[in-house]
């Protein structure tokens, strides 16, 4: 899923400094699961912003509302009763960065992102998330024991490990596991380490962001 993280409150306060009536919109999708922008986090951020503004003698009328998803126009539509009557002068979205863009596309309002959309990942343990994919658009992990060297090797090497791999850790930081050590261990355990003798050829990055903004059209699903 998409993993995101709330921006520092100071930054959010600065964004909405000139506004008095703000709609704070959460999302029940990925950001609820990664505890960044669901109903609960909306409540906490809303409260914090109101407290800060009240203390500053510049109270903020902030209403909280969490949508089923913000990456679907169908749900964005549900904001119409709130956003089409001048009740709010700005929107603060707690979804991944698709949300604020969809809201801005639909309503002529100032929209701010309250989160930093960080990566595609999964949770390692409660409260810890890590990156597992860089959406290169042409998955090749089956060549590497099912591990992704594009997103998980600091240098995206396809023929690693580099000379900096040491004791299972990446040269960049002790906090980063060297994915090439993990690939080697996994291939060894699978009895496939010989496959690592083969040079992995130069990758076609045109399916990645390098080919320009991407779009998927599924004719079978179109109405």
């Amino acid at each position: 899923m998409v993993i995101a993280e709330r921006k520092p409150i100071e930054e959010i306060l600065a964004m909405v400094a000139d506004f008095k009536k703000v709609l704070l919109v959460g999302c029940k999708g990925c950001v609820t699961v990664c505890c960044a922008g669901g109903t609960k986090e909306v409540g906490i951020l809303g409260s914090a912003l109101r407290i800060a503004r009240k203390k500053a003698g510049n109270p903020l009328a902030l209403v909280e509302h969490t949508l089923e998803r913000q990456c679907d126009p169908e749900y964005i539509e549900q904001l119409a009763p709130m956003l089409e009557n001048g009740e709010f002068d700005a929107v603060l979205s707690m979804a991944c960065s698709v949300g604020p863009q969809f809201i801005a596309k639909r309503y002529l309002k100032q929209v701010f992102p309250a989160l930093n959309t960080t990566f595609i990942g999964g949770s390692l343990e409660h409260g810890v998330w890590a990156e597992f994919c860089q959406s290169c658009g042409n998955c090749i992990i089956h060549n590497f024991g099912g591990l992704c060297p594009i997103s998980r090797c600091s240098k995206s090497l396809m023929n690693g490990p580099c000379g900096g791999s040491s004791g299972g850790k990446c040269e960049v930081s002790n906090e980063i596991d060297c994915v090439w050590q993990l690939i080697y261990d996994r291939m060894t355990a699978l009895g496939q380490v010989d496959r690592m003798r083969k040079i992995f050829p130069i990758k076609d990055w045109s399916t990645s962001r390098d080919g320009g903004p991407r779009k998927i059209t599924r004719e079978d699903l179109k109405l």
Binding site: K155, P161, C162, G163, G164, S166, M196, R197, I199, W205
Partner: protein, 308 residues
């Protein structure tokens, strides 16, 4: 001859080669380059010119290589995958060849996090293995990766790096074999202190018949002091400085540690000459270019062969 560089001639004629290293300056002052390079005149067969080493902005390796050529010396231009995509890499290679550069060392590059611009966007379009393949493709097929024919084919003696001490150790010779398969002509290693481990590594390479397909240059970095030895042992990933060297440095007074370090380097070079499969040494005297001549002299590697 693949490129006809001096380094290629020395190695193919069976001489024990020695290469040096020059770190370009942080600035536009070409005299710094000339001064450093002058120390290495007639002392080495080729001089590695580093490419923004440790991700710190420095004068371009290709430009510095050209300055070195104009001095009548031979460069080995290093090229990393960190800062250029395949368009820039191939374009720079064509330019390098046009400027008379004949040796190129292919590297992935240190990660940008270590340098003076950790905020930058890195590239890594290719990795070092694929960079070797790119050079070979241009040289042997006369084409760019995209398939178009080149008007004027760059002739390079292709180099790569190897760290025999990186993990997993068991995979290091296999990775070397992959570089050989990719088309490398010579390999320079990370600096070596743990001679036993290096010999194990070399034995595997020799037994697999690899060393018949490329020239292996063993990396030597003289230890300037006990402090530096400890630092290297602690902070350079995979680099081990055995206790007996630390003890030797500890055993002499501080002022004499540099001389002791040089003595160790000389002994190491002599050991390398006896190590099966080793075709030469690569002397990386970091910011110590002026002391390289005495090391090379003491190791009995002078005068350097002059070949046409």
């Amino acid at each position: 001859m693949k490129a006809g560089s001096n380094l290629e001639k020395v190695l193919t004629s069976g001489h024990f080669a020695i290469t040096g290293e020059l770190g370009p300056p942080r600035g536009a002052n070409a005299d710094v380059v000339r001064k450093k390079a002058e120390f290495l005149r007639d002392k080495v067969d080729s001089i590695n010119i580093t490419d923004n080493q440790t991700s710190v902005v420095r004068m371009s390796s290709i430009a510095v290589s050209r300055i070195v050529i104009e001095m009548g010396l031979e460069p080995n231009a290093q090229m990393t995958c960190r800062d250029r995509n395949r368009i820039a890499i191939q374009s720079d290679l064509l330019g390098a060849s046009a400027l008379g550069i004949k040796n190129v060392l292919c590297l992935s590059g240190d990660h940008n996090k270590f340098g003076d611009h950790p905020q930058c966007k890195n590239v890594f379009d290719l990795d070092s293995m694929q960079l070797i393949m790119t050079l070979k493709h241009m040289r042997d097929e006369g084409k760019v990766l995209g398939g178009q024919e080149l008007d004027g084919v760059p002739k390079f003696f292709i180099g790569a790096a190897a760290n025999p001490f990186g993990d997993p150790f068991d995979f290091r010779v296999t990775r070397l074999a992959k570089k050989v398969e990719a088309g490398v002509d010579f390999v320079q290693t990370q600096c070596i202190y743990n001679m036993d481990k290096f010999r194990t590594f070399m034995k595997q390479a020799v037994d697999q018949g690899l060393t018949e397909k490329f020239h292996m240059l063993a990396g030597i970095t003289p230890l300037k002091s006990l402090g530096m030895a400890r630092y290297m042992a602690k902070f350079v990933p995979g680099l081990e400085v055995p206790d007996y060297y630390l003890k030797r440095l500890q055993g002499v007074e501080k002022k004499k540690q540099a001389d002791e370090g040089i003595k160790i380097a000389v002994e190491q070079i002599q050991e390398m000459k006896e190590t099966p499969g080793v075709a030469g040494v690569h002397l990386m005297a970091i910011e110590w270019e002026h002391r390289s001549p005495e090391i090379i002299e003491a190791a009995g590697l002078l005068p350097r062969p002059k070949l046409d």
